[in-house]
């Protein structure tokens, strides 16, 4: 099977510590601590985890931007650490956020610049650029300077830039961050289309519904380590559905919720106001039957509905990650 790789991305035991300068006095930071996984051809693979969990660091190690301290990376059968030039020709990366384009150039000029850095032949270059602009829906804005683009247009331009070398593997680091719901939906359908056309996609996101909607398989990492790996259905089996109780009440139950959250048998509680009602989702630590207990506790708020519920990806995420923040003492890049 030459040329075809069942697993275009194979990460083995990746480990990375950031060493701070002596002058800064900060301790070294173990960002990724032995992560292994592989991504199938044409699938959308999700890397989830709290802030500072090591997602971006992992993506950088898989995209030649960062050399791991330990472990190996195989990209389309090539050595992802040593064979940099060939790997770079066949992958690309979009990082969420506004930066990363030349603001005083037009969209087209930006694409032309990057096309040349990928050594795309001049013949056909303009046609390629037109095609990319069309894919991301920026044909009309092609000759406007990027500084006049909206946030959503910039994000789509980032994606166009990342498609310039027709990569077989596309890394998307928080591709919908800061986008309004409608634009985010467009970006998601674009991602699905790209995967449909045979590209292998690895993405990170903080939006669980997005991961649930897009991803074939997921790895959840916390503090640099994998805490869950598999399809959404497989991950859901990790939390039995009798563990989730949902209570819908007329009145705001926040004082009871506050009390419950410190109880030892509770993994997580949160309340949301939906259409004038208060919807409380309670994740229990064990399979203990607390339905009647909770029924009594919540009765004073006027229960509209109470019962067990299927776990969502968000429930699983919370139970695996444990709800604790990962960012240490506020030092940032």
């Amino acid at each position: 099977m030459s040329g075809e790789h069942e697993y275009p991305v194979v990460a083995e035991g990746l480990r990375k510590t950031f060493r701070h300068t002596r002058r800064s006095g900060l301790p070294d930071k173990l960002a990724v601590d032995g992560v292994s996984f592989n991504v199938r051809k044409g699938e959308i693979f999700g890397l989830l985890g709290p802030n500072g969990a090591g997602k971006t660091t992992t993506i950088k190690m898989l995209s030649t931007l960062l050399i791991p301290d330990e472990g190996s990376v195989r990209i389309l059968g090539m050595d992802g650490i040593k064979d940099v030039k060939n790997v770079r020709q066949r992958i690309n990366l979009v990082s969420g956020g506004e930066r990363g384009l030349y603001y005083r150039l037009t969209g087209r000029q930006n694409l032309r610049f990057f096309a040349n850095l990928y050594d795309i032949a001049k013949v056909g270059q303009e046609a390629l650029i037109d095609k990319l602009l069309d894919i991301v829906g920026l044909t009309e804005a092609a000759d406007i300077k990027v500084e006049d683009y909206s946030r959503g247009m910039k994000q789509r331009m980032h994606i166009a830039r990342a498609l310039v070398n027709d990569p077989e593997i596309l890394y998307l680091d928080e591709p919908t961050i800061g986008l309004d719901p409608e634009i985010a939906r467009d970006v998601r359908s674009l991602i699905r289309k790209l995967a449909g056309s045979g590209k292998t996609i690895l993405l990170t996101t903080h939006y669980m519904f997005e991961a649930e909607e897009l991803c074939d398989r997921i790895m959840i990492i916390s503090k640099g380590r994998s805490v869950g790996y598999g399809t959404v259905a497989e991950l859901k089996k990790m939390v039995p559905d009798t563990n989730i109780i949902e209570v819908v009440t007329n009145d705001d139950p926040h004082d009871t919720v506050a009390k419950l959250s410190s109880e030892h048998f509770i993994q997580h509680v949160n309340t949301e106001r939906i259409a004038g009602r208060h919807c409380t989702r309670i994740q229990l630590k064990d399979r203990t039957d607390l339905l009647s207990y909770l029924d009594t506790v919540f009765s004073k708020y006027g229960i509209r509905k109470i019962g067990y519920d299927e776990p969502t990806l968000e429930d699983i995420y919370i139970s695996l990650v444990g709800g604790e923040g990962q960012e240490d003492g506020g030092h940032h890049r």
Partner: protein, 265 residues
């Protein structure tokens, strides 16, 4: 050498330059002012097309271009870092040095425009033409001198990243060329022990070649070997600077891949 990437970076820099008029100040107006000041200072010293005035104009021009080159080199990588474009560039198979080189070539281009401007305005402001003895030799020499400045700029662009102290270095480096290149006063005025520094400095040979081409009868200890010796020395030194830059940039790319960022300030 990746000509396509160099050309692309040249165009990117050029388009950006034209879209942002503030760049006109360091890259065109400043070198021009240098020259005009030099002209005024020396115009009492003799006829306007006398060697001493011409020397001053040349010296001023070279210094102005040096200032511009230094400023652009110090700024170029910082710009991509803050702009967030360093990562997308690093992601491509193109080496960073080719992108920075393309921008340096743009600086050479601006330098040439500068020189033409200076010659035209010397004519207009001072009436008397600043006549160049051998224009056919002068402009190629100017181009080569600019390339020698650009190749130092390339090397410095890399050093700036590795040392983190680009502002300090820019300021410190602005002066040695005043002293060692012979642009302001002949290097024969330097103590014997310091002269070797001048000789490993490619622009010194450029300044010498420019004077040889511009002033008939000009001669210095360096010129006694003839203008082609200047050219040879420039060639050699430019090659050395570029090779040094190449290794520095390899180191930078390695550093970035190890630490995840460039040196932080």
């Amino acid at each position: 050498m990746n000509v396509k990437a160099i050309t692309a970076a040249f165009r990117q820099q050029g388009t950006q330059f034209l879209a942002d008029p503030q760049w006109i100040i360091p890259s065109i107006i400043a070198p021009f002012m240098f020259t005009v000041v030099a002209l005024y200072m020396y115009s009492g010293a003799g006829e306007l097309d006398s060697p001493i005035v011409l020397t001053a104009v040349l010296g001023g021009g070279v210094l102005g271009m040096w200032g511009n080159m230094l400023f652009s080199s110090g700024f170029t990588i910082t710009y991509d870092r803050y702009n967030g474009t360093m990562e997308p560039i690093m992601l491509t198979p193109t080496h960073l040095i080719d992108v920075i080189a393309g921008r340096s070539v743009w600086n050479v281009f601006i330098g040439m425009i500068n020189a033409v401007l200076v010659f035209i305005s010397a004519q207009l402001i001072f009436g008397v033409g600043v006549s160049v003895a051998d224009p056919l030799l002068f402009f190629p020499m100017l181009l080569m001198t600019l390339f020698s400045l650009a190749s130092i700029g390339l090397m410095l662009a890399a050093l700036f990243v590795l040392t983190r102290a680009s502002y300090v270095i820019t300021t410190i480096l602005e002066f040695p060329i005043y002293v060692f290149s012979g642009a302001l006063f002949p290097i024969t005025a330097l103590p014997e022990a310091l002269r070797p520094i001048s000789y490993i400095f490619a622009p010194t040979w450029g300044v010498d070649a420019l004077k040889t081409a511009a002033i008939s009868g000009y001669n210095t200890p360096m010129a006694s070997f003839g203008i082609w010796f200047d050219v040879l020395m420039m060639f050699l030194l430019i090659a050395v600077y570029i090779i040094a830059s190449y290794f520095l940039f390899m180191r930078i790319e390695r550093n970035i891949r190890e630490s995840g960022t460039l040196a932080r300030y």
